[in-house]
């Protein structure tokens, strides 16, 4: 069965935990393993943090949108901001790359997303914002996919 939910919230750092807990609660309908739930919470946290720090430069009046679709096979997660955008997506996705070393960023956000999800697509253009699309099969359902 297909199901979907949409969230919209301000770029306030308190919302990082709100977003990951909310998405995890929604995805729980698919009865994921604890490991899968941790992976999903972590990637939501990474993408929302990127939107707040890089998209909106920690200004608290930006809007962040999350759309989560689940079906029998797994999930699709779209996390979007209307912020500054990414100039060089390839560079941003490299492990340990960060545009903000002074803020003690580890540069591991996209690497974690790529490791924890099956597919990561990034669409971004300067001053238009960034959309990250993450998809994942869930183990319980994997057997029925093929």
């Amino acid at each position: 069965m297909k199901n979907q939910m949409n969230l919209e919230f301000l770029s306030v750092s308190q919302n990082e935990s709100f977003a990951r807990v909310t998405v995890a609660a929604f995805v729980s309908q698919l009865d994921p393993t604890m490991e899968e739930l941790t992976e999903i919470k972590t990637v939501v946290s990474e993408a929302v943090t990127n939107a707040i720090i890089h998209g909106y430069h920690e200004k608290q009046d930006g809007k962040i949108f999350i759309s989560c679709t689940i079906d029998d096979g797994g999930m699709e997660l779209i996390i979007q901001d209307h912020g500054l955008g990414i100039k060089d997506i390839e560079e941003a996705r490299e492990p340990l790359f960060t545009s903000k070393p002074e803020l003690e960023r580890s540069g591991m956000g996209f690497t974690i997303m790529e490791n924890f999800m099956d597919k990561v697509d990034v669409i971004s253009s300067p001053d238009q914002g960034t959309t990250v699309r993450l998809t994942k099969h869930l183990s319980k359902n994997k057997a029925y996919c093929n």
Partner: protein
């Protein structure tokens, strides 16, 4: 769930115990508190006890790496202990254990740094 931090000192070792969730929001406060303690006391080494840490993301890696660099600059060591498999996965992904030591629990960490009671 937010983050609770407990600092304790044993000779030249600072014990940092994290309980709760460490993300970007919590990382900024943690950095300030941790730096203030390091500046206030004459500490050479740090033990980071992660037993109560139920969630962490890359912002947590950033703040831990930042304190490691400060301790390393004065010739000190950082020892991580009581880490959960979930949090360990992030440390492994970013190669943190190439520069920090990992032990099973606080007792072993204190022993390793020569301040066991």
């Amino acid at each position: 769930m937010s983050l609770t931090v407990d600092f304790a000192r044993k000779k030249d070792v600072l014990l940092v115990r994290l309980v709760g969730e460490l993300d970007h929001h919590e990382a900024e406060n943690l950095k300030k508190e941790w730096q203030a303690i390091l500046n206030m006391h004459n500490v050479q080494n740090v033990i980071l006890n992660l037993q109560g840490l139920s969630f962490m993301d890359s912002s947590g890696l950033g703040v831990i790496l930042g304190r490691y660099k400060e301790i390393n600059a004065i010739g000190g060591e950082m020892v991580i202990c009581s880490i959960s498999p979930e949090v360990k996965r992030l440390f492994d992904l970013s190669g943190m254990f190439k520069i920090m030591k990992l032990v099973d629990n606080e007792e072993f960490a204190l022993e390793m740094l020569g301040v066991a009671s």
